[in-house]
């Protein structure tokens, strides 16, 4: 369990070119990005199912592929556990025979012992004689994991492991999968187009876009400091806005947006210092916009970046409401018919009587305005 996963590959296909390089200490690595960005292709190259045109793949101390020296281990010799999207369980084999499928070549007693051990650890006891068609979605996922883990893989690859499941099950199994990955301690690469999934499962996230890596960072860093507007968009962040720099210092950035002067926290570690007058992108999470209560008088000094606006649209999401605010300022709204999306808990919506009261003063803490480097 030492060493790193290092991928630097190029693959040209008709109408698509994959050109990625990333490296990660062995842990759980998330490949995150929209469909068609090249995530699955990367997995296939890692597994040896597709041969890259150029580059190098190293896992731990083993070179899987190196175009320069002509090394290209066949999939059979890579010892990679591949959990396919949709699982690809052998429909003609029982659970126990699926799980023991990769153990051929070992003595019979060995195979039986290993299969039984995997079945027990994954809680599949009692299902040994069932066929995949007779299993629930969650059980199939565990069988697919078991089949891959049984060979004691050097690296586990999971391609959209939860996409075959429906929503309620998906959340439960996401946590179950996380537990399994932690418990087995196997290095893994998880492909997903869902940021929450990537965040829950992976320690480090590599963001893909159109065949390239646009950011690779520990998950917390990605969450709070997307490297660019592209990354923010792929993450599905809302309120990605454009303004103009007024002044930038290592820890503050003052910017002008819709006739307002906003103050944002800069990141000293990133040392992003755009010159005045340059365009700048930033985002504000909808749940961090605070409505100012009218019965509480003047806002305290924490309430920075005060603005006024009118609610021009709203949507009920059950436990929360999404409000669309339009600033009182003159000019075209920033996002079509509105300037900001604001999320308020259902209870707050009722207490503040937002249904009737449509005009509000609101504030955004400077720490909640996240600048996106160009």
């Amino acid at each position: 369990m030492s060493g790193t996963v290092s991928v630097a590959i190029e693959k040209r296909l008709p109408g698509f070119t994959l050109d990625v390089r990333w490296e990660a200490e062995q842990s759980v690595i998330g490949l995150f990005g929209p469909s068609g960005a090249g995530k699955t292709l990367t997995l296939q190259c890692l597994a040896g199912l597709i041969r890259p045109d150029a580059g190098r793949i190293v896992v731990g101390d083993r070179v899987f592929f190196d175009a320069a020296t002509g090394v290209d281990l066949p999939p059979q010799r890579r010892r990679i556990g591949y959990v396919f999207q949709g699982y690809a369980l052998f429909p003609h084999l029982t659970v126990v025979r699926n799980i023991a499928f990769g153990l051929r070549g070992r003595p019979r007693a060995d195979r039986a012992r290993r299969a039984a051990e995997v079945i027990e650890r994954l809680g599949l006891g009692g299902l040994e004689r069932r066929y995949p068609a007779e299993l629930s979605g969650g059980q199939r996922q565990r069988v697919a994991l078991g089949r891959a883990l049984a060979i004691d893989p050097a690296l586990l690859l999971l391609d959209e492991p939860l996409s075959a499941l429906d929503a309620p099950l998906r959340r439960a199994l996401r946590d179950e999968l996380r537990e399994i990955l932690r418990a087995w301690g196997t290095a893994a690469v998880v492909v997903t187009h869902d940021f929450t999934e990537a965040y829950r499962l992976a320690d480090r996230i590599v963001v893909y876009e159109n065949g390239r890596v646009v950011q690779a960072a520990p998950r917390a860093e990605l969450l709070w400091q997307p490297a660019s507007e592209i990354v923010a968009t792929i993450m599905g962040l809302r309120n990605v806005l454009h303004g103009t720099v007024i002044k930038a210092t290592p820890d503050r950035i003052q910017l002008s947006w819709r006739g307002q002067t906003l103050e944002a926290v800069n990141s000293p570690t990133r040392s992003y210092l755009p010159p005045p007058e340059s365009p700048i992108a930033f985002f504000i999470r909808p749940e961090y916009v605070r409505l100012v209560r009218k019965d509480r008088g003047a806002p305290d000094p924490h309430h920075m970046n005060l603005m006024r606006g009118r609610i021009v649209g709203e949507a009920d999401f059950g436990t929360v409401w999404i409000l669309r605010l339009r600033l009182d300022a003159a000019g075209e709204p920033a996002q079509g018919g509105f300037d900001l999306e604001v999320e308020v808990p259902h209870l707050v919506y009722e207490i503040l009587d937002i249904e009737r009261d449509r005009h509000w003063e609101f504030s955004i803490h400077r720490g909640s305005i996240h600048v996106l480097p160009a």
């Binding site: 597994a47 040896g48 199912l49 066949p74 999939p75 059979q76 010799r77 890579r78 010892r79 990679i80 556990g81 591949y82 396919f84 949709g86 690809a88 052998f90 429909p91 003609h92 499928f101 990769g102 051929r104 070549g105 066929y131 089949r147 891959a148 060979i151």
Partner: protein
């Protein structure tokens, strides 16, 4: 009544079916799964026996395996003669039925999810093992259907057989040729009996096929 044509036909059809599977299944696998130069040519050649007139096929086979044909001479040099023997009838049946097996089995292999084969490879299985443990068990229905089709086609083979094996009573006269002979000789009762036997064999086989196809794996 002389039942020799029945026994000969069964022997010829069984041998031909076995040979057809032996040659046809690997070709079907190649066509379904591999990209190689000449693949399109092979795909076209494979269907030729289906579209060419049987007498034309028979004629060329005769040219090939006849005494002065290249294959005929090669065989003669090791003391074998193929033309106008029951072996020639087997060859005729193979040529007549192999396209059915290849097309049916190829379609079967193509419906097997490629991912299952890739999964087997990542689990350490060789190409040989992938074929026997994954592809064949999942495509067995098509293989079975192809087998039954090939057997029925071999049983009914007439034109090619006549050209290359002849119609020698007691040696190469198969069931269809015997029926033809009896009709020519106006022995309608015998023709009728032989025809009914042929119908019976085919009906039993097709019934068995439909029963087997209901099994899962």
């Amino acid at each position: 009544m002389d039942l020799f044509p029945l026994w000969l036909s069964l022997r010829v059809s069984l041998s031909a079916t076995a040979l057809t599977l032996l040659v046809g299944v690997p070709i079907a696998w190649l066509l379904a799964r591999r990209r190689f130069p000449g693949r399109n040519v092979l795909e076209a050649v494979v269907v030729l026996p289906l579209v060419l007139p049987p007498t034309v096929l028979g004629y060329y086979l005769l040219v090939l395996v006849g005494r002065r044909g290249p294959l005929g001479q090669a065989l003669a040099s090791i003391g074998l003669e193929l033309a106008f023997t029951w072996g020639a009838a087997v060859l005729a049946a193979v040529v007549g039925s192999i396209a059915l097996v290849i097309k049916s089995v190829q379609a079967g292999f193509e419906t097997v999810d490629v991912q299952l084969e890739q999964a087997a490879r990542t689990l350490g299985r060789s190409e040989w093992s992938v074929f026997w443990s994954v592809a064949l068990p999942l495509a067995w229905r098509s293989v079975l259907a192809g087998t039954v089709l090939a057997f029925c086609r071999a049983l009914g083979e007439f034109g090619i057989t006549l050209m290359v094996a002849g119609n020698i009573p007691g040696r190469t006269q198969t069931l269809p040729l015997a029926i033809y002979d009896r009709v020519q000789a106006n022995l309608m009762d015998e023709a009728n009996a032989l025809a009914l036997v042929a119908v019976g064999i085919v009906v039993v086989l097709l019934f068995g096929l439909s029963r087997l196809a209901r099994l899962r794996y």
